[in-house]
C-alpha cells in the first residue's frame, strides 16, 4: 500500500515538474527565480528546465535553451522569462513563453497546429508558425514596449489595443508605433541577412528611452558578424534563388510593399526564397543556411495577406517630387523631438483627410516632480468646441 502511495507521489511530482528542455549553452550566469524574483537556484549547462520555471539571465550573460520539440530559445543578459506552458500532445504543441523583460531569439520547430507556440509580452502576443524571430520587451517612459522582427517563416502579432497583424520575413514591428500609426517597418535585405547569419544576434531596441525611434538598419549594421557562420553574401545569394511557389508570393508582396520605403523593395527581393513546402521540418532556405538546422524539409514562408498589413497606398509621384517629399519628411522627422509628435507630423495630411487631429497637454507625472506630455485625438473640425476661454 505504502509503495503505491510513493509511486503515486513520484508520478504526481513528475507531472508537476515536467521537464521541457535543457540549457544547451550558458555564458555568464543565469538563475531560476521565484514569483517574487528571488533566486532559487543557479542554472548550469545541461540543467533541465521545467514548466512554470522563471529564468533570469544576469547582465552580460547568454542562455540557450533547447526544448524537447527541437525548438531553440536564446536570451541575452538582463532577460527574464517564464515558461508558462509547454505541452506536446499527439503531435500538437501548446506552448506559452512569457517574456517579462529583455529579449528572445527563437527558432521554432514547425508543428501540425499553426500557432502552437506563443511568445507573450506585456504589450503583445506573438503566435508562431515554424519560424525564426526576435522579440524585445522593454519600457519607454514607464510604458511597456515590444519589438518584433521576423527572420523566416510567419508570425501573427497581436498588439494590445490594435488589430493583429501577420508579419513577413524582414518586417519589424514596434508596439508603440503600430498602435499610433498602424505602421510596420521593413529592414533592409542586408540587415535581414545579417540577423540570420548571426545566429546569436538579438534585436536592438527600436525605441530609445526618450521615445524616439532608431534607424534599425544602421544599428543592425553595427552588429559584429560571426565569421564561423555562413557569409552574408552567400546567404543573400541563396535567398535570391526563387522557387516556383515563392515567385507568386513575391510578386504579390511587391505591390503591397512598394509604396512604403526604398528598402522595402530590396527586402522583398531578399524574401524571394521561402523554401518549398515539404517534410514538416522547420526554417526556410535562409534559415537552413544560417542556423544549420535545415535539411529536414521546410515550411514555406508565404507572404502575409495584404489585409494584415497597414501599408497605405499612395499615388505615384514623379521622381523629383518623391525626392523632395522624402527630404521634407526626413527633416520633419529629425527636427521633431518625440515619437508622438513625429508620428503626428509625418501622417498629418493623411490623417486630416479622415478628420483625425491631435493635441497635447502636460500634466504632473506620478512622481509629482516632472511634467509629462500626453497626446489626445480630436476631430480636426472640432476647433470651435475647444475651451477657448480667456484665462
Amino acid at each position: 500500500m505504502s509503495r503505491k502511495i510513493i509511486v503515486l507521489f513520484l508520478f504526481s511530482l513528475s507531472l508537476y515538474a515536467q521537464v521541457i528542455g535543457e540549457v544547451s549553452l550558458l555564458r555568464g550566469s543565469a538563475f531560476l527565480v521565484d514569483d517574487k524574483g528571488e533566486q532559487v537556484s543557479e542554472l548550469k549547462q545541461e540543467d533541465s528546465v521545467s514548466v512554470l520555471d522563471t529564468v533570469s539571465v544576469s547582465d552580460k550573460s547568454f542562455v540557450k535553451l533547447k526544448m524537447k520539440d527541437g525548438s531553440i530559445l536564446m536570451f541575452p543578459g538582463n532577460s527574464l522569462m517564464k515558461l508558462e506552458k509547454y505541452q506536446i500532445v499527439d503531435g500538437k504543441r501548446d506552448s506559452v513563453v512569457n517574456l517579462i523583460k529583455g529579449k528572445i531569439r527563437a527558432q521554432i520547430q514547425n508543428f501540425e497546429n499553426e500557432q502552437g507556440f506563443v511568445v507573450k509580452t506585456k504589450m503583445s502576443s506573438i503566435g508562431v508558425r515554424g519560424t525564426e524571430f526576435l522579440v524585445s520587451s522593454y519600457a519607454v517612459a514607464e510604458k511597456s514596449v515590444t519589438d518584433t522582427v521576423l527572420l523566416t517563416g510567419k508570425v501573427n502579432a497581436e498588439v494590445l489595443g490594435a488589430t493583429a497583424v501577420d508579419l513577413a520575413p524582414g518586417q519589424a514591428l514596434n508596439s508603440t508605433e503600430y498602435i499610433a500609426s498602424g505602421k510596420v517597418r521593413f529592414i533592409s535585405k542586408e540587415s535581414l541577412s545579417k540577423l540570420i547569419v548571426n545566429s546569436e544576434a538579438f534585436l536592438p531596441n527600436i525605441q530609445l528611452p526618450n521615445g524616439s525611434f532608431i534607424d534599425l538598419d544602421s544599428e543592425i549594421k553595427n552588429i559584429k558578424t560571426d565569421p564561423t557562420k555562413t557569409s552574408v553574401k552567400e546567404t543573400v545569394k541563396k535567398a535570391a534563388t526563387p522557387k516556383s511557389t515563392a515567385t507568386t508570393a513575391t510578386t504579390s508582396s511587391t505591390s503591397t510593399t512598394a509604396t512604403t520605403t526604398a528598402s522595402s523593395a530590396a527586402t522583398t527581393k531578399a524574401l524571394a526564397a521561402p523554401s518549398a513546402p515539404g517534410g514538416g521540418g522547420s526554417g526556410s532556405l535562409i534559415s537552413s543556411a544560417s542556423t544549420g538546422t535545415g535539411g529536414t524539409g521546410a515550411a514555406s514562408a508565404p507572404m502575409p495577406a495584404s489585409g494584415g498589413l497597414s501599408v497605405p497606398s499612395v499615388p505615384e509621384l514623379s521622381k523629383a517630387t518623391a525626392v523632395k517629399s522624402a527630404v521634407k519628411k526626413s527633416i520633419q522627422y529629425i527636427t521633431a523631438t518625440a515619437w508622438d509628435i513625429k508620428d503626428a507630423l509625418v501622417h498629418r495630411t493623411k490623417r486630416k483627410r479622415v478628420n483625425e487631429c491631435f493635441y497635447w497637454y502636460f500634466d504632473i507625472s506620478s512622481d509629482g516632480l516632472t511634467h509629462e506630455r500626453f497626446r489626445e485625438e480630436k476631430d480636426c473640425d472640432e476647433f470651435e468646441f475647444d475651451d477657448f476661454e480667456l484665462k
Binding site: 507630423l345 497635447w360 475651451d387
Partner: protein, 73 residues
C-alpha cells in the same frame, strides 16, 4: 399693469435690433514649446487653453479665432 406692458413691448422691440460689430484689437499669437515641436495659441500673450498643437493646426485655429472676431487677423 399698463406700465408693465409698455416696458415688455419696449424690451421686445429693442432686443430685435442687431448691435454694431466692433472689430476686436486683441492679438493672436502662436508660440512654440521650449522643448517640443508643438505650439500653443495665445491671445494678448495669454494662452487660450492648456492644449498644444502641430504648427499648421495651431495656425488654422488662429485663423478660426480671427474669423470669430476673437482676435485680429
Amino acid at each position: 399693469m399698463k406700465m408693465m406692458g409698455i416696458i415688455l413691448l419696449t424690451f421686445i422691440f429693442t432686443s430685435c435690433g442687431a448691435p454694431k460689430i466692433i472689430r476686436t484689437k486683441d492679438k493672436c499669437t502662436v508660440e512654440k514649446h521650449v522643448q517640443d515641436d508643438i505650439y500653443q495659441i495665445k491671445i494678448n500673450d495669454k494662452p487660450v487653453n492648456n492644449r498644444w498643437y502641430l504648427e499648421k493646426d495651431a495656425n488654422e485655429i488662429k485663423l478660426i479665432l480671427a474669423i470669430n472676431n476673437k482676435c485680429m487677423r
